[in-house]
């Protein structure tokens, strides 16, 4: 079966999403950043052709253009507010994160679209994720300066 994939904003929970998405490609075409790609057979035959976001390559910039164009309702069409998006949740690997190794770095904090809310710098100047505020856009995963990003998105829609 399929691995956990990061879906565009407003996506139904994975099982329903796979059943509802008709693989028409409209969300891919409407994305101005080229963030949305179509899953290949390597991702699993059941998800082939569905839209996925590879945050490390190009994250979602939360322009909110894709949910309204979905013809099948696999993306919740009415979703307009980016703070209500729940594509997934960022996780900081404290073992590899530079800031957690006492090197000054706040790339993820600085680039988070909900600056000071979804990612906060704690008293030791180390990033922590607020699960209530993080929308899972993946900008932090994209910007992390390490070869293997220390902050990654755990996909999972809760919209």
């Amino acid at each position: 079966m399929s691995r956990n994939l990061l879906r565009p904003p407003g996506a139904l929970p994975e099982k329903e999403f796979i059943a509802t998405c008709i693989r028409c490609g409209k969300c891919t075409q409407t994305c101005p950043y080229g963030s949305i790609r179509m899953a290949s057979l390597l991702d699993g035959i059941a998800v082939m052709g569905t839209p996925v976001i590879q945050a490390r390559k190009t994250p979602c910039y939360l322009c909110m253009k894709c949910p309204p164009v979905c013809p099948s309702g696999a993306l919740t069409r009415g979703l307009r507010e980016k703070e209500k998006v729940r594509m997934g949740l960022a996780e900081v690997s404290r073992k590899t994160c530079l800031a957690w190794q006492d090197t000054l770095c706040r790339s993820c904090y600085d680039d988070c679209p909900f600056i000071g809310e979804a990612i906060i710098m704690n008293n030791d100047l180390r990033p922590e994720v607020d699960e209530k505020k993080c929308v899972g856009c993946g900008i932090c995963e994209n910007i992390c300066p390490l070869d293997e990003p220390a902050i990654t998105i755990k996909p999972g829609s809760k919209t």
Binding site: T20, R23, C24, G25, K26, Q29, S40, G49, S72, G73
Partner: protein
């Protein structure tokens, strides 16, 4: 207006749009957007009726926007028959080319045999039942026009194509070496589903020798048929997709005396 030339025009136009729409989308012009599964012309949304119905089966809900977007193609089928297949579908255009090439190179392929309506509707029913059981949009994976248009967009956007295109390759090989026009004639679920929407007044090819309409029995019409049908016989529907090649080919007679006509 020359029927054959008009049809070539709409076939070429479809292919041009399949290429042009994603190119424009990539430039940020998204007035027309989507694929032959579902596309939008401004506020007007159009979805392949089979694809929409499949989603009703997988989700067990009836999304109003989705159902509304199926109305126009259903009305088109009710009025003009399966003209999407004959006049627009890129797979049909490709299949016609494959048939033309195979004939030119003398590759022997029989026309399929048996009652095509039974065959193609059985395939459709099996696909729909599997869609319902597996809760996976199987029809999307088997829609040749959808795959061709989406994969063209994928090529333009990502520089690669997906393995979905393997189906198109299989269809080409199948039609090139095994059964003439096998996919369109006996299998394609998109065409079968469109074929459901017809009634007594749907546009059809009618063979009639009443009045001045004289037939010379030259069989030019049957030779011209892209699907191997004989328009002089009854029962060419639901297989016939109103391409009009038979009517164009019926040249022996003066235009107003042709025994073959399109009729509602």
């Amino acid at each position: 207006m020359n029927l054959a030339r008009l049809r070539k025009g709409t076939q070429v136009l479809t292919i041009v749009l399949v290429l042009l729409v994603p190119l424009l989308n990539k430039k940020g012009i998204t007035v027309v957007m989507g694929s032959l599964y579902s596309f939008a012309i401004g506020p007007l949304w159009i979805t392949d009726p089979l694809i929409g119905f499949q989603t009703v089966l997988t989700t067990m809900t009836a999304d109003r926007t989705l159902l509304l977007s199926m109305v126009l193609p259903v009305v088109l089928a009710l009025v003009l028959g399966r003209v999407f297949c004959g006049w627009a579908c890129p797979q049909n255009t490709l299949s016609e080319f494959v048939d033309f090439a195979a004939t030119k190179f003398g590759i022997e392929r029989p026309w399929g045999k048996g009652t095509t309506a039974t065959m193609r509707y059985s395939v459709l029913v099996v696909i729909l039942i599997l869609t319902l059981l597996l809760k996976v949009p199987l029809a999307s994976l088997l829609s040749a026009p959808g795959i061709i248009s989406v994969q063209t967009a994928k090529l333009i956007y990502e520089g690669t194509v997906g393995l979905e295109l393997g189906l198109i390759a299989l269809i080409v090989l199948f039609e090139l070496f095994l059964v003439r026009r096998g996919w369109c004639n006996y299998i394609c679920p998109v065409g079968s589903f469109l074929g459901i929407f017809r009634f007594t007044r749907t546009l059809k090819v009618v063979f009639s020798e009443e009045g001045d309409h004289v037939c010379g029995k030259c069989l030019a019409c049957a030779d011209a048929c892209n699907l191997g049908l004989n328009p002089m016989e009854a029962g060419i529907y639901p297989q016939c997709h109103n391409c009009g090649a038979c009517i164009s080919a019926c040249e022996k007679m003066k235009a107003d005396k042709k025994p073959l006509v399109f009729k509602f």
